[in-house]
Amino acid sequence: MPNDSREEAADRARPSPARTPRPTPRPTPVPGLPSPVSLDVNTFIGAFPYRHLPHPDPDVLVRVLAREGVARAWVGHLPSAFHRDPSAGNAELLRALGPFAEVLRPAPVVRPDWPGWRESLGALVAAGVPAIRAYPQLWGMAAGDRQLVALAEACAGARCALVLTVRFEDLRQRHSLDVAPDLSAAHVRELARAAPGGRLVVTAAGKEFIEEVHWGLTPAERAHVFYDFSWIWGPPTDELAQLFRTIGSERFVYGTMWPLRLTQGARANLALLPGGGAGDALADVRGW
């Protein structure tokens, strides 16, 4: 979905009660998917500092998911990625998603170099969040940073997924102030090796990144690392088909990067797999 600005503007003009649980649009089968997809692991709400995002709001996301045939989403708070202290953004995220709890599950930020981060993590886990987001490349944390490892271990102990974001935008279009590097494959390898009991979900990684991580881990370590395919290409280079063939479709989860990117991208990628992806089972995310 691009802007969807006209469609969404019409939607938003309709009155809807705030702060109360809302009827949830049901996902419907859509072309190109063995729908409904049960989980989109890579969505956000909120503004992006470097360009305007139309309607990055939870009520819009709920309608988009229904239209795209996706049952639930893990939702991050985009501004918090760029905040020094994520706590206010986390609170805002939990408040905003409250009315949509049936569909939208919060994925707040825990910054492991911040005082009291273990208590913050504990409170978020107690609140039932399924995943924690971390942005080591925005915090200046190198691969193997001991605090980052501690966060991964704590998430593993809490049976909470740790979501990493390789990039937010294509390198070629970034704002002149947006100079943070992409997440490195070494970051992921180090975390997978240090906290093998946890679940790492890597979003917006390209083919070479994924291959470098996967083949740089033992089979046991690989088993806990999952990737979305929001930044992997289909025909004619057929990168996604190749990765499904070489490292296995079960290493992949559905992720779209809404509202930064079109939600249709992931669906198109699956639809263009040989056989429409009918024989390619993604990771089993029941219970996630």
């Binding site: 691009p2 279009q173 004619p236 079109l262």
Partner: protein, 284 residues
């Protein structure tokens, strides 16, 4: 036999920014890549791929600075794809304007063999008067000009003498009778800059191709230049092309607007008869 509905929806569809790879190029898997494009095109419902081959794709001369020696077999290969798939493939003649006399001759040769458009990459910034003779020759042949563009050139990038929307606007204003296709608004850089740069240059059309699928890009393109100046295309990533087709379905375009973007604008700016299976369309 079961008829499968095209993934890209019903109706004609022209990809104005396609590429094929060739045996003398840098990729050993050239045949598989070409087969994959054609196969995916069938599933998406692409009526015509309008394609170029950029020299040896870096093997003997740089992709964006192709030598004359690489140019001829590359164009020959594109034309051979057109002959092999007459119902699906059309070709651009791709040239490096620095070798101007050679380029003019190559244009004449390839048009005589069936090329329907001129492809210029990044061997010379496009506001340079050096391009004027080849653009004038394109006008004489009635060819639209697909020009590789970096959306907002803030600095030099390696391996390209890159142009942006502002540069193309300069060239297009010098040649108001020629239709220009500004390449891949999703192909890297800041498309918002492009929209502002070409908004008031009516002979520039924007092709939607490229791997970028930023939410908001399509709406902003429609708002900037209108559906009559947009052309669907995929470039190297057909998956993102399909995603954009699906997105076009939900941004509020009228059926007429959608048909313009999918194929009618292409039928208007390419030479009459370039797409025989498509219904006649009044030319621009």
């Amino acid at each position: 036999m079961t008829v499968v509905a095209p993934l890209g929806g019903p109706g004609p569809l022209v990809d104005v920014h396609a590429h094929f790879f060739q045996p003398d190029g840098a990729r050993a898997d050239w045949a598989a890549l070409n087969a994959s494009r054609l196969s995916a095109g069938e599933r998406i419902g692409i009526t015509y791929h309008v394609a170029s081959v950029l020299g040896s794709w870096g093997r003997e001369s740089p992709t964006y600075f192709q030598s004359p020696r690489d140019t001829v077999p590359a164009n020959d290969f594109a034309l051979s794809m057109q002959r092999t798939h007459p119902d699906r493939v059309r070709s651009y003649v791709a040239i490096n304007p620095n070798d101007t006399e050679f380029a003019l001759g190559e244009m004449d040769r390839c048009v005589a063999l069936g090329a329907i458009g001129l492809k210029l990459a990044a061997a010379r910034r496009c506001d340079d008067p050096l391009l004027d003779p080849v653009i004038e020759r394109a006008r004489l042949h009635g060819l639209p000009v697909l020009h590789h563009i970096w959306q907002h050139r803030r600095r030099h990038w390696p391996s390209q003498d890159i142009s942006d929307g502002g540069d193309l606007a300069v060239l297009a204003r010098r040649h108001p009778q020629v239709s220009f296709i500004l390449a891949h608004i999703g192909g890297g850089g800041d498309y918002a800059h492009t929209f502002a740069a070409v908004r008031d240059v009516p002979n520039i059309h924007l092709d939607l191709s490229g791997s970028g699928i930023d939410r908001g890009m399509l709406d902003d393109a429609v708002a900037a230049v209108g559906a009559r100046r947009l052309l669907w295309g995929a470039d190297i990533t057909l998956c993102t092309g399909l995603a954009k087709l699906w997105a076009l379905d939900v941004i509020g375009l009228s059926p007429d607007d959608l048909a313009d973007v999918r194929w009618r604008n292409a039928a208007r700016i390419f030479p009459t008869g370039a797409f025989p299976s498509l219904e006649p369309t009044p030319h621009a």
